[in-house]
Subunit: 385 residues, 2 copies
């Protein structure tokens, strides 16, 4: 396998982007990544694009092929990948494999979602399709409901407190306030989080990410060619992609996501590192409790200690391992198909010392993308080249 | 690159499958393919699943991950691919590359679509998302409308006659009548085709495929391992995947699809064959005129001669090259995401001498899958191993 480098990234701001359609957002992020990489578009040999529900929420399918056309790159193979909220992470991994296995030399990867133009009830219904419809979601369960069950169980099993969980939101909103791409730019207090509107008991409004529009992109090439294009290539040290239970009732323990555990083990093994080597993480905080569980499943903290880790400040900027310095899904926003690639965007900036909330001297970065209640996960480990 | 073999295939019947949901259909086809391959499910290392509009028409996303769970294979990476009507062809090509490049030894590929449970107007709207929404489809154009424009142009430019085009439907319905998996099992006359209900002038009802449910699957492994599992492996000789114009107004000539031309050239070059070497073809007859154009773009007949080829019987069973012996999309049915894999199912049976409409002594087979009005295409060349 060849070593792979990221030589350019791009991202729209995340939020309610009223003037931009789904194709326009994807094109804007791709153009930014291409410009930054200085790779002429004629050299790009393939596009992998993550998107969840374009057909449903934006009346747009065939998205990867349409985006290459709008980029003036018609002809090259274009593939849209879908794995709910992990759609972008899957696209990124396929791009990395395309270079690593020698199929291509220059690959464009993107992720996009347009959500704000659909009615909220339709967005909720579309998001619910990430679960197993006949086996679970048909009962009326929603994702806030599912993560409410998970949150209760984590609290009961490990003594995790409402305050510890709420502090995830305080941390992420605080960090997002400094991120110019973030949807929410305002700090919140713990009191505001725990007294915010109840969504699905015990999940409250500030435990959730917003409905977002946005896109992100990255240009990949073999590491050996990277310095022809940029002085600061970022190296892909390892990737992982795994599945886990599709429903809560099939999970032996809802406080752990086997897909995250498997994908991270695969990525750590490929990168030849241990969890303790990681300096900065962008992980899938689709709810506050999901961040705590992910830090445990990724091996950053022992099982059941993720809540205490937040309280101790270990996941803050300047802590043992900075978690979600971008503000995470909760503050930066969560345009579903874009999220996995936006995590890469943030971590590339961290490893180039260009991040809004810079983790000083960060050498090893990890991205964690999750679909549904853990039905699929991707993990990527990046390092300075 | 390693040589790749297909060692098992499966397919549901195509049609209105009222008792089967989208997950159940995909699982049924995968189980059949696994059983035929005699590969124990623990050996399967990845699933690639083609699906177009599951989130919209069947309220089911995360489909690949959910299907591996239902198959009892939770843990392995699972990827859903979407490229409109070419979703299945893209999934198949990714599976082939996974083996060819040495990433995996045993891969499961599937394709599925559930369409009959949604209202017809919603199906039409979902299908229209395969086109560029803001650049073309928003005007109100539908796919029958688009192919009506293409049909008129082919008739005007090359003198292709209404009778020649209608004979595609007569041939395919005649062949489908003998295919136990086909949705329509009844021959039609030319008079019935050209006097059937007008859909989008000059496209009539019998120029179109039906709304269908169905799934298909295949098991792949390195050719060198194939005979451990089956006495009749089928070899993948070459694949291609390309994009083309997303709209009719951006097409220099709407009577040719550059994506088909590019994808087929790539597949022929990999297979080291010429179009004249092909004995049997399953191609994307999403409308009767699309079959004629595809036979030209694939190089089976000169440009403008596809209509005459049908009239001469050259594409019939026993003709120069048998086209759509399964009955094609028009008669077998067109569950969008399943079609590309169902073509592989049919051709594997042809190369094992097991097809309902067997092409005697067929040695080289070609599958052609198309998205939209040619925005994306995949081509696969298969041979006896």
């Amino acid at each position: 396998m060849r070593d792979v480098a990221i030589i350019g990234v791009g991202s729209t701001p995340f939020g309610k982007l009223e003037r931009q359609g789904i194709v326009e957002m994807a094109v804007a992020a791709c153009r930014d990544a291409l410009a930054e990489s200085r790779v002429p578009r004629e050299k790009i040999q393939a596009l992998y694009l993550g998107n969840f529900a374009g057909e449903r929420l934006a009346s747009q399918g065939s998205l990867a092929a349409i985006v290459v056309n709008r980029l003036g790159m018609s002809g090259i193979p274009a593939t849209k990948t879908e794995g709910a909220c992990a759609s972008g992470g899957i696209a990124f991994r396929l791009g990395v494999l395309g270079i690593a296995l020698g199929l291509y030399d220059f690959v464009l990867v993107g992720g996009v979602e347009k959500m704000s133009s659909a009615p909220t009830a339709e967005v909720t219904a579309a998001l619910a399709t990430a679960g197993d419809e006949t086996a679970e979601m048909r009962t009326g369960l929603t994702f806030p409901g599912a993560f409410g069950i998970i949150m209760r169980e984590h609290m009961a099993r490990y003594g995790t407190t409402r305050a510890q969980i709420g502090l995830v939101s305080v941390k992420n909103h605080g960090l997002g306030a400094a991120n110019p791409k973030a949807q929410f730019r305002k700090p919140v207090t713990l009191d505001e989080v725990v007294s915010s509107r109840l969504v699905a008991d015990p999940i409250r409004l500030f435990d959730c990410p917003p409905i977002s529009d946005g896109a992100a992109a990255a240009v990949l090439c073999p590491l050996e060619m990277a310095r022809d294009f940029t002085a600061k290539p970022v190296r892909v040290l390892g990737t992982g992609h795994a599945t886990g239970p599709a429903t809560l009732w099939e999970s032996a323990d809802v406080t752990t996501m086997p897909a995250t555990v498997r994908a991270s083990r695969e990525a750590y093994a490929a990168a030849k590192i241990a969890p303790a080597d990681v300096d900065v993480v962008e992980l899938h905080d689709c709810f506050t409790i999901a961040e705590i569980i992910a830090t445990e499943d990724l091996g950053l903290f022992p099982k059941g200690k993720g809540g205490a880790a937040v309280e101790e400040g270990w996941t803050a900027l300047g802590g043992k391992v900075a978690v979600n310095p971008s503000g995470g899904l909760i503050s930066k926003g969560h345009p579903v198909g874009a999220t996995g690639v936006a995590q890469i965007y943030e971590l590339v900036r961290q490893l180039r010392d260009e991040a809004a909330n810079q983790v000083r001297g960060a050498e090893i970065a990890l991205a964690h993308n999750l679909g549904g209640t853990g039905v699929v996960s991707t993990v990527t480990v990046l390092g300075r080249a």
